[in-house]
């Protein structure tokens, strides 16, 4: 017995030590710690690419800020921008997630749109900085050069998106306060201080240009000149880097540089077979002679330089409402936001400005002209009448009926294969275009004109439009400003819904005038160029929690609508 007393405590101690719990716990889930990452990369070195892969995937990341259906990345923030213009019109109905932007009542410092843009971009910047930090100091081999270029170009894209929303355009506002800058060099220090101060517009553009210069330097001489598949186009190749720098130079009014960057991009595009959509492609003539208008939903198209690629495995495919196509396609079937009432239309005045000989007239439906499958009766490109497949027409008519009819409903983002409702999910899903070959021609034309050669610019524009859009196009040219204005008119039509319209208004100092565009009375607004309403306010949590920022953009109230004397063929 005595012996047992002595042994028992030892037993107990032994049992406890043997069953000691593990204190260094780690997740076994959809997220990893830094240590787990290092360990994983040691075992599978190809995982080094995972950090770089993150950058394009963050463009389509859902729910980064809110558990809302309009928080799904770049395509959504771009749609928010378009809704602030007069070119895109929609009903203020329940499931129109962008009605607030359209009514200009979403411009406060607590607004969803500013939080979504801010968080999407700064999270991207955080991840891009991390990629740069993990690369070796001397970047020599092609893979590392490619990785470095991705981080720099995506970071530049993020700052370029921010700089155009949080301050007026570059020219004339160079010293205005804009957004804080975080790079691989200062991020640790600035984070420790709780945030950086608002850099000036000049400083932001300096960083953007230097990032793009470096990206081009890294990509130059590698095999990454231009990508041709939807999957590889999600990354920035040399053509896209030039395209981005052309965009930036255009905003900065560096005309010669913009023209030469655009031209460089065109050359790289051509070498890879990336060319604009042709008229016949856009008509998409079927073997039976009918015409099936091409929908802009496929990143494999040769017009696309850069895209956001959605595959069947994407969460956004499974959550089929959380997707650009679900918000804009008029063939989204039940479940798409258009079919649920948030149909998207082109402004009536803008639609009327498209000549009936322009193939782009196809991108919207004038329901008055859709009868018995015959549409667009005076197209003069060899057809007096265009006939479309019956099921397509029946869908258009159904959409027109459901959308109460008679406004100019967009068909530009209808999937070509989306007519068969057997796979309705797919009909609401498609790739999103980040940059198309066409844009380079418009940049080149405008920049050439503004750089001092208006006739050269007019020629570039005329050549492009006549060949690719409207064979009867006859722009006579004129002053540099006239060419610039005409380029803008063309861009409004060409890039409708692609997120460029608001940026153009800002850089060209234009206002918004919705009179005559057919907006619902409460959305019929006139906003002068330079109105503070065009600026997003910094999120309140940024101003509250960043010790280096005290001042926000000016507070302003939503404008009152104005009466629209125009008579429309429909009633609101």
């Amino acid at each position: 017995m005595k012996a047992l007393y002595k042994v028992l405590p030892l037993f107990a101690a032994g049992a406890i030590l043997a069953s000691c719990n593990e204190m260094d716990t780690a997740p076994n889930a959809g997220y990893v710690t830094e240590d787990q990452k290092i360990d994983a990369i040691e075992h599978s070195p190809e995982l080094l690419a995972a950090g770089v892969n993150t950058l394009p995937s963050m463009f389509k990341q859902m729910h980064q800020t809110y558990d809302r259906f309009d928080d799904f990345g770049i395509a959504s923030t771009n749609l928010m921008f378009d809704c602030m213009t007069e070119d895109m019109m929609s009903y203020n109905v329940g499931l129109n997630w962008y009605a607030g932007e359209m009514l200009f009542n979403a411009q406060g410092d607590n607004a969803v749109c500013t939080y979504i843009l801010w968080n999407t971009m700064y999270k991207l910047i955080f991840s891009a900085n991390n990629v740069i930090k993990t690369l070796p100091d001397e970047i020599e081999d092609e893979t590392n050069r490619y990785y470095a270029a991705q981080a720099l170009a995506f970071r530049a894209y993020a700052y370029f998106s921010l700089v155009q929303r949080y301050q007026f355009t570059y020219k004339g506002h160079e010293s205005a306060p804009c957004v804080p800058l975080y790079t691989e060099e200062n991020s640790e220090e600035v984070s420790a201080n709780g945030g950086g101060p608002r850099a000036t517009v000049q400083e932001v553009y300096d960083l953007i240009l230097s990032d793009l210069d470096r990206a081009i330097e890294y990509l130059d001489g590698t095999s990454y000149t231009a990508a041709t598949t939807a999957e590889t186009k999600t990354f920035v190749n040399l053509n896209v880097a030039y395209g981005l720098r052309a965009r930036v130079n255009l905003v900065m009014n560096n005309w010669a540089a913009a023209a030469s960057d655009a031209d460089k991009a065109i050359q790289l595009n051509n070498a890879a077979g990336l060319t604009p959509y042709t008229i016949s492609e856009l008509l998409n003539k079927q073997s039976d002679g009918t015409v099936l208008p091409a929908g802009f939903t496929d990143g494999n198209d040769h017009s696309w330089m850069w895209d956001i690629n959605y595959t069947k495995d994407d969460l956004q495919y499974q959550w089929t409402n959380c997707n650009f196509v679900a918000f804009v396609s008029s063939f989204s079937y039940s479940g798409g936001y258009t079919t649920l009432g948030a149909w998207r239309y082109i402004g009536a005045k803008l639609y009327s400005s498209i000549p009936s000989t322009d193939v782009r007239k196809f991108w919207w439906v004038n329901p008055n002209e859709v009868h018995n499958g015959v549409w667009w009766t005076d197209f003069t490109n060899g057809n007096s009448r265009v006939t479309m497949p019956n099921d397509y027409v029946s869908w258009i008519r159904k959409s027109c009926t459901m959308s109460k009819g008679i406004r100019y409903l967009v068909t530009k983002y209808n999937r070509r294969d989306g007519i068969n409702p057997a796979d309705p999910d797919m009909a609401r899903t498609g790739d999103y275009m980040m940059m198309r070959a066409e844009e380079m021609y418009y940049i080149k034309a405008e920049a050439e004109a503004m750089a001092g050669n208006p006739s050269q610019g007019a020629q570039t524009l005329r050549d492009f439009v006549t060949q690719y859009r409207n064979p009867s196009y006859s722009f006579a040219g004129g002053s540099a400003e006239q060419v610039q204005e005409e380029c803008w008119n063309q861009r409004r039509i060409e890039f409708w819904g692609e997120g460029l319209a608001l940026n153009d208004l800002m850089r060209l100092n234009k206002g918004v005038d919705r009179v005559g565009q057919g907006f619902q009375p409460e959305a019929c607004m006139q906003i002068a160029a330079g109105d503070n309403l065009f600026l997003y306010r910094l999120p309140r949590s940024e101003v509250d929690n960043n010790p280096a920022i005290t001042e926000n953009n000016p507070y302003c109230t939503a404008p009152n609508p104005v009466a629209d004397p125009t008579t429309y063929s429909w009633e609101w």
Binding site: C20, P27, V93, F126, T557, A563
Partner: protein, 836 residues
């Protein structure tokens, strides 16, 4: 055995009751909007408002039939007498339904409990079983629970004792979790209470008959979208009909819990006890979420089936050594040393698919095996360890001293900040036992003075690995791992709460008065909190030891028994707590000042301060809400004068009312914490009959009345379709210029009263919590039928609430109150308790 009936406890706000009332107000909002916002003339605005009233900018549903060419509202503002409620568009007939009637019910609650216990010299045993069936307040929502427990202690040898206590619980809950979230469109309460009284619950055919789905055996419900020609506006939740979901869908959660405790106790020598305890809690939860292919969100996918599995395992192992000895009959010492470890593991597995073969078949194998089939799984772990020591000493049961120390480690913290030390010390003095008190024993039966200081650690920050940065891993064909999902903080460590108490327990006048008076001070240092940071950093918050706060106050508890005879006993009891809360120290980088969207934390000031723009009344000329603004104090050089926290200082002499809302002009708006709270009640028993009643109360504090906020608005498109409070009838008009309800205006852009102190309400309340009436049958009767005792009773719980506004329930929290959640139920019940 207990039976009861449930009903909603808190009455709802007074809202508009009829479609006519609602449309009258909506008309005004639309008309004013056209005049104020679009510059329409009064006549044009009248036409516009009538045209929009039933259209997409109005309620979205034509529910009145009007003679050709006539308007619903006449130019004088009255309702057209020729308007007939109900509208037939040739396909369907539309008429409002009473949503509350089809949503709510008075559910039954039944409860049965049986237990058996007994003891012999060596064995103690206890077996019990219970069953609950609670129907809940919403149709087709219910809750069932079955539980059994067995417990045995066995004295094997004089020095060895073993014990085991095992509980098994099975529960089935049949109402969707959405009912708890007020914002969700699946929330039947919200839909029934907050929606405008204009919408049909059902789809009717052209003849006005409610359509019926024969194969499913239920009526066809109106989801307000894509079913008929009409669509509900966003504030009336298009696409949602939770009542239909509860019928056509099946959402249930099933839980099995096994809780086992095993014990081994050794007494090797006199006074020494060595104990080993093991406690295992295994909780296994399954969720079935089956959605029908016909109506609602999953109709587009041909129906949806989701299954989920949650397995929680919690294991605690403990070893204790206790030594107790009394010396010279005066000194008693009691020493304890122990070790404890805890591990927590959760494993989660889920799968889902679309297009079920069999209706409401809840298995995922019942769905098409295509790309929409999906699944996922994860596991997380958490662990703590601790060692502890305690020493107690008492002298003749008159003086008591105790001291303890423990050291705890948590896996939530980085290894270098993992361990925390906590100690406590206490003493008590039984004054009444002193010789010098003998003379007062007539009236002073007991007097005990006690004081204690104790520390306790808290690691409950939320994240399992709060010290580490975590990145999302995802990908379809290639991996992504660069997106931050959680910003960790290596420096965080235990939060310590330091409790200091001084108390006095007394019994007076022949045990007629029992009382306790206590002063407490709970200081929480290194408080754990997710501190919001500038989102430009790439993340929006970090876990942090943000600072320290102190809650201190006084607690008084008294029971008075004025009558105590053989048959009759009457007692009154009451308690009161006075509490005061203060921020002592904030983390140095905050500079003594930290503001969030609606609160401010300043060193030396209350922990619960509102920080909002201040409402400045209604402009009597325009009817617009006004907000206070001011200039900031300037230094001589024209720069802003800053206070010691680096904040600008308002110059109140320039205070002015402005029609524009600007969050820069936020200012302190009082406390949400009520300084006084407690309860009181009384009990009466007479010859086997017992009666009791109890109240709860709090005094002071300010609560944000979100429920009311929901029902006061200008009638803009984002609010159209939601009901208004009857107070809206007092909205500003040129004829009613002095009011507190802003004007109605469909195009209003400056209606920011919700971000001001406008909806703040006094949080004081008085609640009648319980009334019980019981009767215990005389034992000389019950013994005849071999029963030890029989008690019959009836009780009402959650009986009534009086607060600053009808509908406001300040019990929901310090900060805010929202009435559209599954609120506390009033339960009226009766039962029988039999002891054999």
């Amino acid at each position: 055995m207990k039976w009861g009936a449930n009903s909603r406890a808190t009455p709802y706000y007074d809202v508009l009751e009829t479609a006519e009332d609602y449309l009258g107000v909506a008309y005004k909002a639309l008309r004013n909007g056209a005049m104020l916002g679009m510059g329409y003339t009064a006549d044009a605005a009248h036409d516009y408002a009538n045209k929009q009233l039933f259209g997409p900018s109005g309620i979205g549903y034509q529910i009145y039939t009007l003679p050709e060419g006539e308007n619903f509202i006449l130019p004088d503002g009255s309702v057209n007498k020729n308007a007939v409620l109900g509208y037939n568009d040739g396909t369907n007939y539309f008429i409002p339904d009473d949503w509350k009637k089809y949503t709510l019910r008075n559910g039954m609650r039944q409860e049965y409990n049986v237990n058996v216990s007994g003891a012999t010299e060596k064995i103690n045993y206890y077996i019990s079983g219970g069953y609950v069936d609670d129907q809940g307040l919403i149709n087709n929502s219910d809750y069932k629970r079955l539980s059994v427990r067995t417990s045995v202690d066995y004295q094997v040898k004089p020095w060895l004792k073993v014990g085991s206590n095992v509980t098994y619980t099975h529960s089935e809950q049949n109402y969707p979790g959405d009912q708890i979230n007020s914002g969700s469109t699946g929330n039947a309460f919200m839909m029934a209470y907050s929606q405008a009284p204009v919408y049909p619950m059902f789809v009717r055919d052209a003849e006005g008959n409610i359509m019926f789905n024969e194969t499913w055996g239920h009526p066809v419900y109106d989801y307000g979208q894509a079913q008929t020609a009409f669509t509900r506006p966003s504030a009336a939740n298009p696409g949602a009909n939770p009542v239909s979901n509860l019928l056509y869908d099946k959402v249930e959660s099933l839980t099995d819990i096994i809780n086992g405790k095993w014990m081994l106790e050794l007494k090797p020598v006199e006074g020494l006890t060595i104990t080993g305890n093991a406690s295992l809690n295994l909780e296994y939860g399954r969720g079935h979420n089956t959605q029908n292919p016909l109506y609602g969100y999953s109709a587009a996918y041909g129906g949806y089936v989701g299954m989920s599995d949650n397995r929680y395992r919690m294991l605690t192992l403990q070893a204790l050594a206790n030594y107790r000895k009394t010396f010279a009959d005066k000194h008693t010492i009691d020493l304890l040393a122990g070790y404890e470890q805890y591990e927590y593991n959760i494993e989660y597995l889920s799968a889902s698919g679309n297009n079920p073969y069999r209706k409401l078949g809840w298995a995922v194998d019942n769905t098409l095996n295509n790309d929409s089939r999906s699944g996922g799984g994860s596991s997380d772990n958490y662990a703590t360890r601790g060692i502890f020591f305690r020493a107690n000493y008492d002298f003749e049961s008159r003086y008591f001293f105790s001291g303890s120390f423990r050291r705890d480690g948590s896996s939530r913290f980085h290894p270098s900040h993992r361990w925390g030390n906590f100690f406590s010390i206490s003493g008590a003095w039984d004054v009444a036992k002193e010789n010098f008190m003998e003379g007062v024993h007539e009236w002073l039966n007991q007097l005990k003075l006690r004081a204690s200081f104790g520390q306790q650690g808290n690691d409950g920050i939320g994240g399992w690995y709060a010290w580490a940065d975590q990145y999302t891993i995802s990908g379809e064909s290639a991996w992504n791992d660069g997106a931050l999902s959680y910003k960790g903080n290596k420096d965080i460590t235990w939060e310590t709460s330091n409790n200091f108490n001084v108390g006095l327990d007394f019994v007076l006048w022949n045990n007629k008065v029992f009382g306790t008076l206590e002063y407490f001070s709970r200081q929480t240092s290194d408080m754990l909190y997710y501190r919001p940071v500038a989102p430009s950093l790439g993340y929006s918050s970090i876990p942090m030891n943000v600072g320290s706060i102190r809650n201190s106050g006084v607690e008084l508890e008294l029971t008075y028994t004025p009558i105590r005879t053989k048959d009759l006993e009457w007692s009154i009891n009451g308690n009161l707590t006075y509490i005061n809360s203060k921020v002592l120290k904030l983390a140095p980088e905050l500079g003594g000042w930290w503001q969030t969207a609606s609160n401010v934390y300043i060193e030396g000031e209350s922990m619960y301060q509102w920080y909002l723009v201040e409402f400045a009344g209604i402009d009597p000329t325009s009817g617009r809400p006004l907000y206070w603004q001011w200039d900031w104090m300037k230094n001589a050089d024209g720069t802003d004068m800053l206070d010691k926290h680096g904040q600008r200082i308002p110059d109140m002499s320039t205070k002015r009312a402005s029609t524009s809302y600007n969050s820069e002009y936020r200012i302190k708006q009082g406390n949400s914490l009520p300084p006084v709270y407690g309860g009181f009640g009384t009990n009466l028993s007479w010859k086997g009959i017992d009666f009791g009643i109890s109240f709860g109360y709090q005094i002071g504090g300010k609560v944000m009345d979100y429920g009311y906020m929901n029902h006061i608005n200008a009638g803009t498109s984002s609010a159209m379709g939601r009901n208004w409070s009857v107070d809206i009838l007092n909205a500003w008009t040129p004829e009613n210029p002095y009011t507190v309800i802003p004007r109605l205006n469909n195009t209003e852009s400056q209606y920011n009263i919700g971000s001001t102190n406008y909806f703040m309400a006094d949080a004081s309340y008085l609640a009648l919590n319980n009334i019980t009436l019981g009767y215990t049958l005389p034992q000389n009767w019950t013994r005849k039928i071999k029963l030890e005792s029989v008690r019959i009773y009836g009780a009402a719980d959650n009986v009534a609430l009086w607060s600053a506004r009808k509908g406001l329930d300040p019990r929901q929290g310090y900060w805010s109150s929202n009435a559209t959640t599954y609120t506390g139920m009033r339960c009226i019940s009766g039962g029988v308790k039999v002891v054999f």
